[in-house]
């Protein structure tokens, strides 16, 4: 039993880690990003190939891929983010869905559908504490998820930029009246979310196989976690991650994979209908940024 709990919590941290970026993009900016899973997939492949060719450990390349992603989105991809931010929600769904399709199939074309994984010095290492066993890689992700959650939480709450981001999210027009260049805010926040997601991808490589269509499952979980935890609430994402992780670990033996998906979808609808702000979201914040 305690094994299940530990597995669940570690998994929860992992799920939180892949969802934080989405919480910034969808939770804060309210941009529906259907390519979220593909962001992770691309990052995983990048980490994979740098390991394959240059033997660079994915944990190290994660620290490089993330800032690179940030820069990319602040510069080259900037017009795209702006366009996305100005589109309707449905437009965002389809534009990002289209990007997702393109990325998936590019990966398919270039790398084939083969499952790939890395075998680093520690990727198979397991730790035993009493009766409980778990993999080192998962522990790393779990710890980092705590770090990122805390860091981002304080950043949004205390820093001036954090307040600027929150203000822009609550009322874009009035934010403009404050002298805020809301486009810059959107681009910055999106870039940050993308970078964190890319970072998560690198962390996942020692744990999961990578293949072109792996994105969908991650995206599904990320959306559930974000909605469950509360859009725009960083601690909420962590909590949501734990709930889903624990649920999955505890029910793992009893329910098949597809039934698990069914349960997730049902949870999703229930939350949306009953408590759209999520577990930790501020009541009323779900209304922001939507018509």
């Amino acid at each position: 039993m305690s094994q299940l709990l530990v597995s669940g919590i570690l998994l929860g941290g992992l799920y939180a880690m892949i969802s934080i970026g989405l919480n910034l993009i969808f939770g804060v900016l309210r941009i529906v990003n259907f390519a979220h899973g593909e962001f992770i997939m691309v990052s995983m492949y990048l980490a994979y190939w740098t390991y394959f060719y240059y033997k660079i450990d994915p944990y190290i390349s994660a620290f490089v891929i993330a800032p690179l992603t940030f820069l990319l989105f602040m510069t080259v991809f900037r017009p795209f983010v702006v366009k996305l931010a100005d589109s309707s929600h449905l437009g965002q769904v389809f534009i990002t869905f289209g990007i997702g399709i393109v990325l998936q199939n590019l990966a398919l074309m270039l790398f084939s559908a083969d499952y790939r994984s890395v075998d680093t010095a520690y990727s198979r290492m397991r730790i035993a504490l009493g009766e409980v066993q778990f993999s080192l890689a998962r522990l790393v992700v779990f710890l980092l998820s705590l770090v990122f959650t805390a860091a981002l939480y304080y950043y949004l709450k205390k820093s001036y930029m954090g307040k600027t981001i929150r203000a822009t999210m609550q009322n874009r027009t009035v934010a403009m009246l404050m002298g805020i260049d809301t486009r810059k805010v959107y681009v910055f926040t999106f870039a940050l979310g993308a970078a964190i997601t890319a970072f998560a991808g690198g962390l996942l490589l020692p744990i999961f196989y990578v293949y072109p269509t792996i994105g969908f499952n991650f995206a599904l979980i990320a959306f559930i976690v974000v909605i469950l935890g509360g859009l725009g609430s960083i601690p909420g994402t962590l909590a949501g991650g734990f709930v889903i992780g624990l649920t999955e670990a505890l029910s793992g033996y009893f329910i098949s994979a597809s039934m698990k998906q069914l349960v997730y979808f049902c949870i999703f609808i229930l939350i949306l209908v009953l408590r759209p702000a999520g577990l930790f979201g501020q009541r009323g914040t779900e209304e922001l940024g939507v018509k």
Partner: protein, 341 residues
């Protein structure tokens, strides 16, 4: 009277040509591939139009419509297989079933705003898909159901492509007709009023819930009927073909590309995207796996980024009844966009 003028517009010469084109081509060109594309084109144009009744006119942007498509397909097929009920009747049963489910779903999800509504429809469609796989006692699960090829009108199976072409065409015209009705009726007006401003519509005394539920029922029912047609045309259904999210997205995509909220938009969208997809797949599909989807995806992205009003917006500068896809409080500066990218 405006009604009269717009009806002439809806059935004007260009429209007539457009509407008749695929059926004509299919009947005249003896190529099986062309016929197949034409039939699929009409099928998906009709489906997109059916979606558009709820999504375009009412602004309730569902991305789960494949659930209704599949419900139609499975209802008629199961009734036929288990009780020998003619698929024509099964089609009506499927439509009613879908309409009912559409109303129930709508009453739960309509209060949700914007992306939350869309996401909930997606979740619902996925739930239906998973159930269709798991409840294999009822549905035969992922192995699907084969419909025996026994030609006969009552059995809705034909040995020549001509009836399929005509029926597909009748469906497309039929749904177009319903769209025209929406565009020119009080129901349609109420829906569009709701779409533009819920508060204003309520203030006018419109029961926004009832009209949307009506639209949901009609949209779902029509989509289901097309599901039945699909089943009878392909003679095989399984969850992977009738319940997947790709179908939902296809319906929306066609409407977006052609012009959401317009009567002819979804049809134009179908004329463009279906042959494009089929051609891409047949040209590149085998050679380089995935390439055709890369191109298709890119087209999707480019069209949506640079032509948010759809093709129709290119043709008229103020699309008739079209939805503005940009958020209305964004400044439209005649001197250029707000700030530089």
């Amino acid at each position: 009277m405006t009604k009269h003028r717009s009806l002439k517009h809806e059935f004007g010469p260009i429209r007539i040509v457009l509407l008749v084109l695929p059926a004509l081509l299919a009947l005249v060109i003896p190529n099986a591939f062309v016929r197949d594309i034409a039939i699929l084109m009409m099928l998906w144009s009709a489906a997109a139009s059916a979606w558009n009744l709820l999504g375009g006119f009412a602004g309730q942007l569902s991305i789960g419509h494949t659930a209704f498509f599949g419900i139609g397909a499975y209802t008629s097929t199961l009734l036929y297989i288990n009780f020998s009920v003619s698929p024509w009747i099964g089609m009506i049963a499927g439509a009613l079933m879908a309409a009912l489910i559409g109303v129930i779903l709508g009453s739960i999800t309509f209060p949700l705003k914007g992306p939350f509504f869309s996401l909930s429809t997606l979740a619902f469609a996925e739930i239906v898909r998973i159930i269709s796989i798991s409840w294999s006692d009822l549905t035969r699960g992922s192995q699907g159901i084969v419909i025996k090829y026994t030609p006969g009108f009552g059995k809705f199976v034909f040995d020549s492509p001509v009836p399929y072409i005509l029926i597909a065409w009748l469906f497309m015209i039929g749904v177009y007709g319903v769209a025209v009705y929406f565009n020119n009726s009080r129901l349609g007006f109420y829906l569009m009023a709701y779409r533009e401003s819920e508060d204003a519509a309520r203030a006018l005394g419109i029961n926004t819930v009832t009209v949307r539920l009506k639209a949901a029922a009609i949209s779902a029912g029509l989509t289901a009927m097309l599901g039945t047609f699909y089943a009878q045309y392909i003679l095989f259904i399984d969850p992977e073909s009738v319940f997947i999210v790709d179908n939902s997205l296809q319906m929306v995509l066609l409407s977006l590309v052609g012009g959401i909220g317009t009567t002819i938009g979804p049809i134009i969208g179908g004329y463009i995207m279906v042959p494009l997809g089929q051609l891409l797949r047949s040209t590149f599909g085998d050679a380089v796996p995935g390439f055709h989807l890369v191109v298709y995806g890119l087209c999707m992205v480019l069209i949506l980024m640079y032509l948010p009003g759809g093709i129709v917006s290119l043709l008229n500068r103020r699309p008739f009844g079209g939805i503005r896809l940009k958020r209305p409080d964004r400044r439209r500066d005649g001197h250029g966009s707000v700030g530089n990218a």
